[in-house]
């Protein structure tokens, strides 16, 4: 288990410890400090993946988050498995298990590579031009085939075992990127006492300093300076350094999203620790010091394993002590690659030559390479490369033409220069400005309180990078910049965008821009030939920039290809918009704590635990759990509900109504406020009286209802539907603050403050009365629709004489903490009458027998008060109320053909219609049928010994007596239209 490409010294890995890991079932070793990519390279493994479309063999291209090729699946088991991770970012741990993707049966022999043989038939956008015949074949045949070919890794099939955390933070200065610019910025800001957060996506802070053997800062070797800088930062209590933390999104008002990986690098950790944490940081100022990303050169066959970015190779060498190969050819338009060549040369790697696109590159790095005797080919290009699973050589040609020269190599290192990481700045809506000398978009005028420093701003040398960081940090915190003395860090310059000149038939070569999506220079040309002239069209047509690196490597080269063809400068073509996230972020980070019970709070009433102990079956009503029925023994819902209904109609039932929304409306103008909100008139309602209120939206449709009690002249107890509580309060506040600010009214939600117990049935008073002190609740003293404040079982209560069942009834409001005690007292008091707890289902049946509507069931946002027969409740004398003007509109004023609430009785009394079924006059008519209405409520009525239904029916009230049909899956049911009250229409029982 040797690591043949590992150097014996150097780098930031810990050679004292050896870690074992596997890739595609083969075992290898590495060291702490390695990434999966560096460890694979140390073992001589370059072939790590297959591309998306052509299944080309691919190697490790980069050393960072922009990696397009080396995507792997990692995880000990399916519950810990993540596809598409970049091997360049996966930190090595002992026992790490990884696999390659998009290949079958193996990386070396992949059937999908047949696409590569027939590549000519699959140009960009080929699928738009074919697979159209026969019509059904697309969905049934072609699309499934295409889908199987597409996709990279495999999704896990087992629920994720990990937990996730989230945090909010505020700071004075957030610094993104802990390279030299970010460190200098953080130091300068911290010195002023500012609260600083410094984050970096890598495992260690330092950025480019982690691979910097030469430069000296303030007399210290870069690595030493880094140590002191970090020690200084650590000494500030108000500075937080977050590593493994990616600033992934820039949101309005300087809100930055950070994704912090917590345990992935530790391997087999218990799932008790959160795996990652999402931060939402609100920063006074942001300094973006996110560095720059090296660009590939676009030349024929530039994608073989062993072809790598030059700076990445230098990082593998300096940071991980790994040689990318034994014989490297360099292809560049930037001086940095000379530095790589020199470093590799020193480390014992043969340099097959340095091919430079530029005719007369100069500067210190070029001079040093010349001095070291490296073969340099100026004004030259690479016409092709060879090798199948690993590059074996390349053909060098002068740009001017002439004969080519093949040189052999096992590694080709390229550099097209660097693209500043302006992603976050662009996300913040800052303007980008094209710099033609750098061939790069640079940050221009910011849109938020932020600045950009270091190579992210196109700053070239280490000295200037440190200076720009210090200046940005000081400016952000209102301090003064320090200056740094930098020696032995010569500037590296150059760059190229577009496809490099190559010789030969452009139709027969493939030069890749977007490696993962297999987009070639030819595809870009094809898109333009087909009339795609906007960069966005080219992107979408070719999929360039739509791979998992989101164009970090390919966008500038695409612009470089388009510009000469369209005859427009790059800025006139524009760049595609940068969007969050900067690099992919697991869904779990966003979902955070919200899972299972914490997904949404479960609201439970004070009586919930009692109902649970009785074996109640619950239903979800908005966030509440409500007891739906209380089965006894082996009863099903039907039987239980029948029994509960009988109990209420003949004896007494008890019902937990606590979930009803409650709003305390208080103030000298409370009655006037309700006059303006509800359709009803409130001025004349006496204290101690109740009234059923209807609330409309501005458009005249019923949105809520509820009983409202006047406690005193200036105090109302308003109830709302369970689901409507928050909505109604918000609506009231909205009107109060924006429409009626002159009214002297206060609104307070009291939903949770009261437990509400309904006691209903002919025996109700017998149950309640013995527990009451301080009030007379006889029929004379407390008639239907009145209320009194008193004590029940010693607990202060608002006692409402009200009924949603049609029986004599009380609704008892007590402080929630006493809810269960009062409930149990009522149960005890009701024992002689066999008091029966009932649930929402029974409540629904009983109210339907009476024709009482449920908002959301009889109404659906298209129903006016008149539609449900409640027009009489409208306070006619009122100058205005919400929705009044809308009710005067033509469609309502004419009142023709509106759907109205009716009752329906089936010919077959045992048939319970399906709710939602529709009503027609002639079930034999062809489709589309003329529908007259639909069933809103439908139940078996135990009381009546038959089924009953409520419906909204066109011109319904005029159709009383008509016979109509309800087509069901089981056949057409004939129904008769009746009034929507099936039980005690005179209301004698209510008033008992």
């Amino acid at each position: 288990m040797t690591q043949p490409y590992r150097l014996s010294a150097g780098g930031r890995i810990d050679r004292a410890r050896t870690l074992t890991f596997s890739f595609d079932g083969k075992r290898y070793t590495g060291h702490p400090g390695d990434t999966l990519a560096s460890a694979l390279l140390a073992n001589g493994v370059h072939l790590v993946g297959r591309s998306f479309k052509y299944h080309r063999p691919r190697g490790i291209l980069t050393a960072g988050g922009e990696e397009p090729n080396a995507l792997v699946g990692v995880g000990r088991d399916d519950a810990h498995f993540t596809p598409n991770l970049r091997a360049t970012q996966v930190e090595l741990y002992d026992g790490l298990t990884s696999e390659s993707q998009n290949r079958a049966p193996s990386l070396e022999r992949d059937y999908g590579a047949i696409n590569d043989v027939f590549w000519r038939f699959f140009p960009a956008g080929f699928y738009y031009k074919t697979f159209m015949w026969p019509r059904k074949a697309w969905t049934k045949f072609f699309e499934p085939r295409i889908r199987e070919m597409a996709g990279l890794g495999r999704s896990p099939q087992t629920p994720d075992a990990a937990r996730y955390a989230q945090r909010f933070a505020h700071c004075d200065v957030l610094v993104v990127g802990a390279g030299p610019a970010g460190l200098a910025a953080a130091l300068a800001a911290a010195k002023t006492g500012a609260r600083v957060i410094l984050c970096d996506e890598q495992s260690e802070a330092g950025g480019s300093l982690l691979a910097e053997p030469d430069a000296q800062i303030d007399g210290l070797p870069a690595a030493e300076w880094l140590k002191t800088a970090l020690a200084q930062l650590a000494a500030y209590p108000q500075v937080k350094l977050l590593t493994r933390t990616t600033a992934f999104g820039y949101f309005p008002h300087n809100m930055i999203g950070l994704a912090q990986a917590l345990t992935d690098h530790e391997g087999e950790r218990s799932d008790a620790q959160p795996r990652g944490r999402l931060w939402q940081v609100r920063a006074k100022r942001v300094v973006i010091a996110a560095g720059a990303i090296e660009r590939p050169l676009v030349f024929p066959d530039n994608d073989r394993p062993g072809i790598m970015l030059a700076e990445a190779a230098r990082i593998y060498l300096e940071r991980y002590g790994v040689l990318p190969g034994r014989r490297a050819l360099i292809f560049t338009a930037h001086d940095g690659a000379y530095r790589t060549a020199l470093a590799l040369h020193r480390a014992g790697c043969a340099i097959a030559g340095i091919v430079d696109l530029r005719p007369n590159a100069g500067g210190p790095w070029v001079a040093a390479a010349q001095k070291a005797g490296l073969a340099i080919y100026p004004a030259s290009t690479i016409a092709t490369t060879d090798g199948r699973l690993r590059i074996t050589g390349a053909t060098i040609k002068p740009i001017a033409g002439g004969s080519g020269q093949r040189v052999s190599c096992d590694t080709l290192l390229m550099s097209g220069g660097f693209t500043p990481s302006v992603h976050l700045f662009s996300q913040s809506r800052g303007k980008l400005v094209f710099d033609a000398t750098l061939d790069a978009f640079l940050p221009g005028a910011p849109a938020e309180a932020c600045s950009v420093a270091g190579s992210a701003a196109g700053v070239p040398s280490l000295a200037e990078v440190l200076a720009s960081g210090a200046e940005a940090g000081a400016a952000a915190a209102g301090g003064s910049a320090v200056s740094y003395q930098v020696t032995n860090a010569p500037v590296a310059q150059g760059g190229f965008i577009g496809a490099v000149p190559y010789h030969g038939d452009p139709g027969s070569v493939r030069a890749f821009l977007d490696y993962q999506n297999d987009v070639t220079a030819k595809d870009i040309a094809l898109a333009m030939r087909e009339g795609m002239k906007s960069v966005e069209h080219v992107k979408r047509f070719t999929t360039n920039g739509m791979a998992t690196d989101q164009g970090k490597l390919s966008n500038m080269n695409a612009l470089g290809i388009m510009s000469p063809v369209l005859g427009k400068p790059v800025p006139a073509i524009g760049t595609t918009t940068f969007r969050m996230p900067y690099t992919p972020v697991p869904f779990g980070y966003f979902a955070g704590y919200a899972r299972g019970e914490l997904f949404e709070p479960e609201r439970r009433t004070a009586i919930h635990s009692w109902a649970e102990a009785q074996g109640a079956v619950f239903e979800d009503v908005s966030l509440w759990k409500r007891a739906r029925y209380f089965p006894r023994g082996s009863e099903d819902m039907h039987k239980a509900v029948a029994r509960e209904c009988r109990a209420v109609r003949n004896g007494v039932g008890i019902f937990d109504a606590s979930t009803l929304g409650k709003i305390e409306v208080v103030g000298p103008d409370a009655a006037e406020f309700l006059n303006r909100m509800y359709i009803n008139a409130w001025t004349k309602l006496q204290p101690g009286k109740l009234r059923y209120g209807i609330l409309l939206r501005e458009d005249g449709f019923v949105i809520d209802d509820g009983v409202i009690g006047r406690i005193t002249d200036t105090r109302f107890h308003v109830t709302t539907t369970t689901g409507g509580a928050a909505r109604v309060l918000t609506m009231m506040e909205d009107y109060l603050q924006t429409e009626f600010p002159e009214l002297n009214v206060w609104l307070t939600s009291t939903t949770e403050q009261y437990a509400v117990i309904a006691v209903q049935g002919p025996m109700a008073r017998k149950v309640v009365a013995p527990l009451i002190t301080g009030a007379d609740i006889s029929a004379e003293a407390l008639p239907h629709m009145s209320m009194v404040e008193c004590k029940i079982a010693g607990v202060p209560a608002r006692l409402f004489r009200v009924s949603f069942t049609g029986e004599l009834g009380f609704e008892i409001n007590v402080p929630a903490d006493y809810g269960r005690a009062v409930w149990e007292a009522l149960m005890a008091s009701g024992k002689p009458y066999d008091i029966t707890p009932y649930g929402t289902e029974t409540m629904h049946v009983l109210r339907a027998e009476k024709g009482y509507i449920i908002v959301g069931q009889e109404t659906d946002g298209t129903v006016t008060p008149d539609d449900v027969g409640y027009a009489g409740m409208i306070g006619k004398a009122k100058p205005d109320f919400v929705g009044k003007r809308a009710l005067a509109r033509k469609a309502f004023a004419e009142q023709t053909n509106r759907k109205q609430l009716v009752g329906l009785l089936t010919d077959d009394p045992t048939l319970v219609l399906d709710e939602g079924a529709h009503i027609v006059a002639d079930p034999a008519q062809p489709k589309p049928m003329t529908m007259l209405g639909h069933i809103t409520s439908s139940y078996w009525s135990e009381t009546l010994g038959r089924s009953v239904a409520l419906a909204l029916l066109r011109d319904g009230r005029a159709r009383t007596g008509e016979q109509l049909y309800v087509p069901l899956a089981t056949g057409n049911a004939r129904v008769s239209v009746v009034a929507p009250v099936f039980y005690d229409p005179e209301g004698t029982r209510l008033n008992g």
């Binding site: 993540t82 598409n84 000519r120 038939f121 140009p123 699928y127 738009y128 031009k129 074919t130 697979f131 019509r135 697309w138 699309e143 499934p144 295409i146 889908r147 199987e148 597409a150 996709g151 990279l152 890794g153 495999r154 896990p156 099939q157 629920p159 990990a162 809506r429 139709g507 030819k522 087909e530 002239k533 979408r540 998992t548 969007r579 996230p581 992919p584 697991p586 869904f587 779990g588 966003f590 979902a591 955070g592 919200a594 899972r595 019970e597 997904f599 949404e600 979800d620 009503v621 458009d699 005249g700 959301g856 069931q857 659906d860 033509k890 399906d914 939602g916 529709h918 589309p928 529908m931």
Partner: protein, 417 residues
């Protein structure tokens, strides 16, 4: 028009694909047109295509301020279905669905219309009541929609979590099998190519900045960033910007514009066979042919014209997705974006004439107009050509808000995609 086919593809493959022609020209605007369509989204391009194809009106320009398809057409999550509740809506959306079924062939452009089925999951009694009402109404309207038990839903969509212990357990689902998805860009491009071939000028980077009218109030042309262009009739199909464009003709529209966000994961091998939507936990998901999970939910809370939303919206969306599909919790968000959607008070579109003679409008599709593209384009073309609405779009007039004849789909189903 250069025909596309497998054979053409093979032929071109043998000559390096050098013979492909531009899919549409890039003409300079003429001084005037019979009809100008403002907005080069799917709806506008399609309307131009049908004007030329069905009504013989070929002196037509589509003016697009950016690049065609760059508005909501190129930003949406492409859910196509027609199982709307009300008769008017069912007729409108099913008209579109029927056109989708032959669109690739009609345009000779594969728009990848994939009838993989849309499953709307119910989580409580209220959902069930509402979905069943849809199922019943759809059946009688001749629109397919069926009710599934949780087990049937799981069989149709294996990744669905139907565990009863869930916070919002799945209690059933409504399935429209003819529903599905399509490739959004291809819709814009296919219409552009088809319209161009019939003589329509597609003019990009041409923002309309003013609408000219004569003394009678009738439209006479537009001012644009590329100069004045005359027009006898103008159709506005500008989605999120409609209120701004209509203001140029002095009309205030009953529209509010909101950002609507969507996101995709990194691509994975096929795992998700259909489209799943949940109103109650508020999210929807499908998998693109590239392998990305395509995910969305509701609009942002505040009106805005900036194509950019707040972070808490995708957070809530992913909470919901992870709850319904806990196997996706480790999948990673690759890209998030927003579009501006134009929302009417009743969540139904406005498609018809306006009080300004010669000015027609198609808007208010809000979060769910991609599915209507062929239908709405067809009906807009009809309305412009005949100067009167087709019976299908007649109810979707601008006057309905004043008159109170709303078609309130939102009332019965909160999510309108």
């Amino acid at each position: 028009m250069q025909r596309y086919s497998a054979l053409a593809l093979i032929k071109q493959s043998l000559n390096g694909h050098k013979g492909w022609k531009p899919q549409w020209r890039d003409p300079e605007p003429k001084s005037s047109y019979d009809v100008i369509i403002i907005g080069g989204g799917g709806h506008g391009l399609g309307a131009a295509y049908y004007l030329a194809k069905k009504h013989g009106i070929r002196n037509v320009a589509v003016l697009e301020k950016g690049w065609i398809g760059g508005g909501n057409t190129g930003r949406n999550t492409t859910i196509i279905r027609s199982n709307y509740l009300f008769d008017e809506s069912a007729a409108l959306y099913d008209h579109a669905l029927q056109m989708w079924e032959g669109l690739s062939q009609d345009l000779n452009y594969n728009v990848m219309f994939s009838q993989r089925g849309v499953l709307m999951v119910a989580h409580n009694v209220h959902d069930e009541q509402s979905f069943k009402r849809h199922v019943y109404a759809n059946r009688l309207n001749g629109v397919d929609n069926e009710w599934l038990t949780p087990e049937q839903a799981k069989a149709f969509c294996p990744p669905l979590n139907i565990a009863p212990g869930m916070r919002h357990a799945v209690t059933g689902a409504a399935l429209q099998r003819r529903a599905g998805t399509a490739r959004h860009d291809a819709v814009a491009w296919g219409y552009a190519r088809g319209a161009d071939a019939l003589g329509v000028d597609i003019i990009q980077n041409c923002e309309v900045t003013g609408i000219e009218r004569d003394a009678t109030g009738r439209v006479t042309g537009v001012q644009t960033t590329r100069g004045r262009i005359g027009a006898r009739k103008i159709g506005v199909s500008a989605a999120g910007s409609t209120s701004l464009v209509m203001e140029m003709a002095g009309l205030r529209m009953p529209l509010e514009s909101y950002p609507l966000q969507a996101l995709v994961s990194e691509p994975v091998k096929p795992i998700f066979p259909c489209v799943v939507m949940s109103n109650t936990i508020h999210a929807y998901i499908s998998q693109s042919d590239k392998g990305e999970l395509v995910i969305g939910a509701g609009t942002d809370s505040y009106v805005s014209y900036s194509q950019r939303g707040a972070l808490h919206i995708p957070m809530h969306t992913l909470e919901a997705i992870c709850e319904l599909f806990p196997i996706f919790r480790r999948m990673r968000m690759m890209r998030n974006w927003g579009g501006i959607v134009d929302v009417t008070p009743d969540r139904s579109p406005i498609l018809g004439k306006t009080p300004v003679p010669g000015l027609y409008v198609n808007c208010g599709w809000g979060t769910g107009g991609f599915k209507a593209t062929p239908g709405s384009a067809d009906l807009l073309a009809y309305t412009i050509a005949k100067d009167e609405p087709h019976p299908i779009n007649a109810p979707f007039n601008l006057e309905r808000f004043g008159a109170g004849r709303l078609i309130d789909e939102a009332a019965a189903a909160a999510v309108a995609h």
